[in-house]
């Protein structure tokens, strides 16, 4: 139990997917201008990351490894993830329209989100089992969401503050992300 808890905290804070692993930076900078959008995007990433990690784990374990095709991992994973995203979109639309309304519009943005693919790849490289994979994906997704919401909160405040013209927009977003990343360094050694 403790092991899983540590894994969870580790993935969420110590090895935060955006701030320490450099994954998913495009949407991190792109969708962190408004906190409402950040929550939606974060939620969608958590959702898809867990599904994708689980399914790619199955693909790797039962299709690629038995045939010795693990070098095709990248190709197989991206196909699976792209199809999955599209499938989820259709599924939500039909079955859970309420959820689709709040997350659906972000789904197409996720296909090219390297956080999702990155999480799936990390799980394979670390040779995790299925339960760990799901837990790790969930925690990493949450880490993404937390970082995104924090940054969006800061950027919303900052939109009305004095800034050199050239710093406004993405540059300050990146510097802020850097400072947040520095802050997240404090979690190193916690576990």
């Amino acid at each position: 139990m403790q092991e899983y808890f540590l894994l969870f905290m580790g993935a969420m804070f110590v090895n935060n997917i955006v701030l320490a692993q450099y994954l998913g930076n495009c949407p991190f900078i792109g969708t962190s201008k408004e906190s409402g959008v950040a929550v939606g995007m974060g939620g969608a990433v958590v959702f898809v990351a867990v599904m994708a990690a689980a399914i790619t784990w199955l693909v790797q374990r039962y299709i690629l490894l038995p045939f010795g095709l693990d070098y095709l991992q990248t190709l197989a994973f991206i196909l699976v993830i792209a199809s999955l995203v599209q499938f989820v979109e259709m599924f939500l639309k039909k079955m859970i329209p309420a959820l689709y309304k709040s997350l659906g519009i972000f789904l197409p943005l996720i296909t090219t989100n390297c956080a999702v693919m990155g999480i799936a790849l990390i799980c394979q490289r670390e040779e995790m089992d299925l339960l760990t994979t799901v837990l790790f994906a969930f925690a990493s997704g949450m880490g993404f969401m937390i970082a995104l919401i924090l940054l969006a909160g800061i950027r919303e405040k900052l939109a009305v503050r004095r800034l050199p013209m050239a710093m406004r927009g993405t540059p300050i977003g990146l510097v802020l992300a850097g400072l947040m990343s520095l802050a997240f360094f404090a979690f190193k050694g916690m576990i």
Binding site: T74, L109, G118, G178
Partner: protein
Amino acid sequence: MNRLWKEFSKGLWKELPPFKLVLGLCPVLAVTNTANNGLGMGMAVIAVLTLSNFVVSLLRKLIPPKVRIACFIAISATLVVAVELLMQAFSYPLYQQLGIFVPLIVVNCIILGRSEAFAYKNPPLLAVADGLGMGIGFTLSLTFLGSLREVLGAGTLFGVAVMGDWFVPLKIMVQAPGAFICLGVLLALMTYAENVQRKRKGLAAVQGATHDCGSCGGCANVAKSQ
């Protein structure tokens, strides 16, 4: 010829991917801890980008529009795997350094973006020029950022010590925070330079480059209108 040059050169400055369009941030941040890594990543991207542009452009008449994104992904993923294999075979240490960012080239929005925005609509030669230009621009940017961070963070350039003994490396520069801050400050400097020029021309100053990847452009508006 003129057209070719135009498509090629736009990636070098006007639409310089990481700085002007602020695209493909993950590799830009992750693998630029040394100049060497930046260069290597850039080469891999050049290869994938140029070839995927070429292939997409060749097949553009065959690919049904409905599944075009899936096809683009499949094509670029294939090329990425090929690059992965070749890198393992000929430059294993680089492969180790770049880690999962090699397979992640496949989700680099530049690749998909160019396929969608350019290659799917233009003949192969132009598409190659576009991909090559963008790729070279990307590589140069990555190498530059990598050199900067390597010099500041380790006092070396391409592994060769360039700063004197007096220099105390800012270790943070080769880690994640340094990556973010370095890129942020660079973007700001570029905008500042542009603003100085604009001022000379009598134009109003503009704010820093905006992140505007094709697929994210509308989401702020979308969310607002809900």
